[in-house]
């Protein structure tokens, strides 16, 4: 596949290296925002079902870092590293997300919080510098999602079967 994208409209230029996820949460914006600002909150919801986190250090400020380990339900640990690049309460948080400080594959995600009636619309937008980095992140999170009793478990099994080459 060509990576040049010549002649493509500007809007779709990042489409193959962008991931956007949004959600409406039935709570005031300040409260939703607050859940991102302290480790006692983050540790309650960060990560997929069945995951827990252990925090080494946490400093919620621009340039501050969150060093932590994510524990998968199958016992596998993943080191994670977050550094905030913008904090605008209660509207916007931009952060770098990698495996450790200085991770060359770290990527930036922007979270925006918008009032939606009495609820809050939250959007997570990540634009990866290259499609390759996007694919690497997707691969890594596939790995993180391993060992679960859902269709994703099946999907991991698929990768394994494909990789090792099904015998018989």
């Amino acid at each position: 596949m060509s990576a040049t994208g010549r002649g493509a409209p500007a809007r779709s230029a990042t489409a193959d290296r962008e991931i956007v996820i949004s959600r409406v949460i039935d709570a005031p914006r300040e409260l939703v925002f607050e859940a991102f600002t302290e480790v006692r909150h983050l540790s309650r919801w960060w990560g997929p079902d069945g995951f827990t986190t252990t925090t080494q250090s946490f400093e919620f400020r621009v340039g501050g870092e969150w060093d932590f380990v994510m524990h998968g339900p199958d016992g596998t640990d993943y080191t994670e590293w977050i550094s905030w690049t913008e904090i605008t309460p209660p509207e916007r948080i931009a952060l770098l997300h990698g495996e450790s400080r200085g991770d060359p594959n770290a990527f930036e995600s922007v979270l925006t919080f918008e009032p939606d009636g009495t609820a809050t619309r939250i959007e997570m937008r990540t634009v990866f510098p290259t499609k390759e980095l996007r694919d690497e992140a997707v691969e890594r999170y596939h790995a993180i999602e391993g060992g679960r009793q859902t269709l994703s478990n099946l999907a991991d099994y698929v990768t394994e079967v494909v990789r090792t080459g099904a015998e018989g």
């Binding site: 709570a27 992140a137 596939h142 099994y157």
Partner: protein
Amino acid sequence: MARAATTSDAFNAIAEPQRRDILVLLRAGERPVTDLAQELGMTQPRASKHLRVLREVGLVRDRKAGKQRLYGLDARGLRPVHEWTGGFERFWNESFDRLDAYVQDLKQAGQEE
């Protein structure tokens, strides 16, 4: 690109919840159709029909074992779906699910104070 017919596209095949249930059961190993039908509470013809669709898109394979026919997962067919969905989206979607539940707790706690 032309849109693929239901039976030639893994995405369409697994859009049906009962077919996903079948795949999850087959993950544990090969099963005859009677087993699958019973476990999922559906008629055997219905289970057979689902299996036929799954086989046509390369998600399930079958083989004869004595008198019965066993169906097993042919997981290679699911690879395009796996690559498309991406663990990163799931990571955030499930995190947002948990965030939602947690924020509801916070809200309630705030109201009780």
